[in-house]
Subunit: 475 residues, 2 copies
Amino acid sequence: MLDTAPLPAHVLDELRRILPRPRAVLDAREDLLVYGYDGTWYEGFPQVVAIPESAEQVAEIVRLANRERLAVTPRAMGSSLSGGPVPLRGGIVIDTKRMNRILEIDEVNFVAVVQPGVINADLQKAVESRGLFYPPDPSSMRQSAIGGNVAENAGGSRCLKYGVTADYVMGLQVVLPTGEIIRTGGKMVKNVTGYNLRALFTGAEGTLGVITEATLRLLKKPPFTLTAMAVFASIVDAAQCVTEVMSAGLTPCAIEMMDDVTMSCVEEMFHLGLPVEREAILLFAVDGNHRAIVDGEMEALSELARKAGALEVRVAADEAESNALWQARRGISPALARKRPNKLGEDVSIPRSEIPRMVRAVRAIAAKYALTIPLFGHVGDGNLHPNILCDRHDPQELERVGAAAREIFEAAVACGGTLSGEHGIGLLKKQFIELDLGSAQVEAMRRIKTALDPNGIMNPGKIFPEPGGIDAFKL
Amino acid sequence: MLDTAPLPAHVLDELRRILPRPRAVLDAREDLLVYGYDGTWYEGFPQVVAIPESAEQVAEIVRLANRERLAVTPRAMGSSLSGGPVPLRGGIVIDTKRMNRILEIDEVNFVAVVQPGVINADLQKAVESRGLFYPPDPSSMRQSAIGGNVAENAGGSRCLKYGVTADYVMGLQVVLPTGEIIRTGGKMVKNVTGYNLRALFTGAEGTLGVITEATLRLLKKPPFTLTAMAVFASIVDAAQCVTEVMSAGLTPCAIEMMDDVTMSCVEEMFHLGLPVEREAILLFAVDGNHRAIVDGEMEALSELARKAGALEVRVAADEAESNALWQARRGISPALARKRPNKLGEDVSIPRSEIPRMVRAVRAIAAKYALTIPLFGHVGDGNLHPNILCDRHDPQELERVGAAAREIFEAAVACGGTLSGEHGIGLLKKQFIELDLGSAQVEAMRRIKTALDPNGIMNPGKIFPEPGGIDAFKL
């Protein structure tokens, strides 16, 4: 399936001409190997890795690939949880790690202009040093880069109050699959000139072009933040509490959930004193510009949580306590990864009114298929991460994983929700996309893809189901 | 140019079969005439008007039109300021006025589900009666409907703090140009399943499909609002004040500007006591959940305005005074329309740092071409509405208008801005779109258009420049 044939010599020569710097074109097997993976269990193998430093170089590479009909897989830091940067069809991986400069922080227009290889946390730190704020905070923020964040339309905890990556993308420079460089949007706040290509490229998972620069909206950093943990004997009570908090019109900046299985995995790794004997906790964060109001909002939240059945609501006394709680949250993914050989991280997103129903459905599916499915996520947004722990080399177990995943997706769609809130479709969910969107809509998306990428070179094999294509649960 | 030939009898028969209710298919000349116009000076003439009541009927009409290669022009209330609903190529106008129901106001998920014919102000009233809030408030909000608001991605005064229509579109039901009905998005907050078609259809000016339903995000209505007027001797000082307010990180819900010419036109019509002898005023609004904070923000704003050279800052003492100021703002368009036979309303959008430069540029262009160009707009967003007053039947004046419009666009692009912040490209700006986006980007948009509308039936002649097509300044 994977095209591991060596590249024609003239292609390699031309790449070396485009990228004359040392180690900008990699074709040794040991170099290529590490570019075959992301945060999922998929595997690919590129024929060559190109490491450009400018949009012009990216454009030259893409024009070459388009002429030679070679696959192009754009790659930022490769922490995707849906298979996006896995080079399925060999070809060229474009690694953006040398395009990692913050080009500008504009304090008048509240805008940052960055290259795609800038690490999310580095951008946050840079803008916060000037009293500014870039809210999107995927749990991978210390590893993942803006190019990948934009390609996947990454979310995060604070997106509950502040919105996802797409809400911060004011402009993009993109190399189209046919090799043209375009700029869509910029530093202006309002823009309705032509179709909204910024929004189309954001979350297109690298299938419509290579993002070479992003103009990102910034806010003023709110100086006050409080974090609290609410402990529940019943996970359904916790879920109901979230629905009630959100429908009361409160605007916490984050509400995260962890169930008992999640807590014990995290506890084993980090020893933070989480109440593992309870069925679920919620983490709340509240922020703002006025201390008294932040205090008042936290009080209102705590009272609602208690009314909804919280056994205890503990507001973090200081930053250390607050950091420990967020460390627990961000540590979930590595903690779960240690538990069993593999995990299938899902990412369903549902209306907030349906959180209790979805939580019940996931618990029932776990029981039905005798699988361990820790449940956590950005529950305030209705974005849940049921992670199916398994050994993918056990064919019988893998079959149960596939059946459970399908039922989780079906439950999400039945709740009026969708397959993915922030990870993308990639390889992991592509065979389920029609279940969610219907065939006419998927066909419309395919037509857009073909219109912009007539030779199908740009990140092929992702998003769209293919007859005889890779099955998430078989590979 | 306009196809005023009568429709083939079998098409009319089939439309009457699809829409059996009385007066749902109009083909009498006197009925058609009123469907030829919008808020611009363009004229068209449809061959027939279809007034459906359901998405299924819309889909049947579109399939018929696609088979017969007839143009389809979707029309909500026809208040567009860029020519969007003008039926250039005859064909079928689809009038959505009988699809005017608010289908649901969901107080748990903070969502309204509406048909395209719902008037913006009616939706606002309905949700406000339940303590909820739909922020987008185009000045046309008492006339314009949600279908048009979504098609044009309408803005408004409050969009400064709350964002534009696109920021509230969570889901759409759309009839594609090939007649399929799709649903993109829904009540879930986060959604990255496939390409973001919601965002693509929002602001596509009816060229990619007919919007038959919208799922809109609601907020909780902030109970406290204050309005103030700041008076400036110099319009450049006023512009500089806006840049300073916004870069200070204050978040007023609106900042509007009116120059002296605008004020005197409004004053002639409404007699509100505006300081017409001064060069400019700014209107500020501040809102929020806490009275003391709203007061504090208004105080900070007023102080900044005074430092920036405001001669006077008057905070409206009560709702009556505040309403009078907003009446003045919303009355600009009708007031200017009385002044000269015609007005060309422009809509450039620029980075906030460039407001003073843009204001100077527009004043200089007005002087250069001896034209009256009142300047007003949502200046806090960098969205300015220079309106060129003229008599379009005076060929010499019209030529100056065309030259001035081009220079205004060139100045906006030179400021890092764009042709349109909220009105759309339509007919008015299509010959300038490449100046802004470049030919490669416009070509990418054309390819998307053709991919979804292979026969080019959906609102033809809009957005994209055509060789030998209609010239905004000649028609």
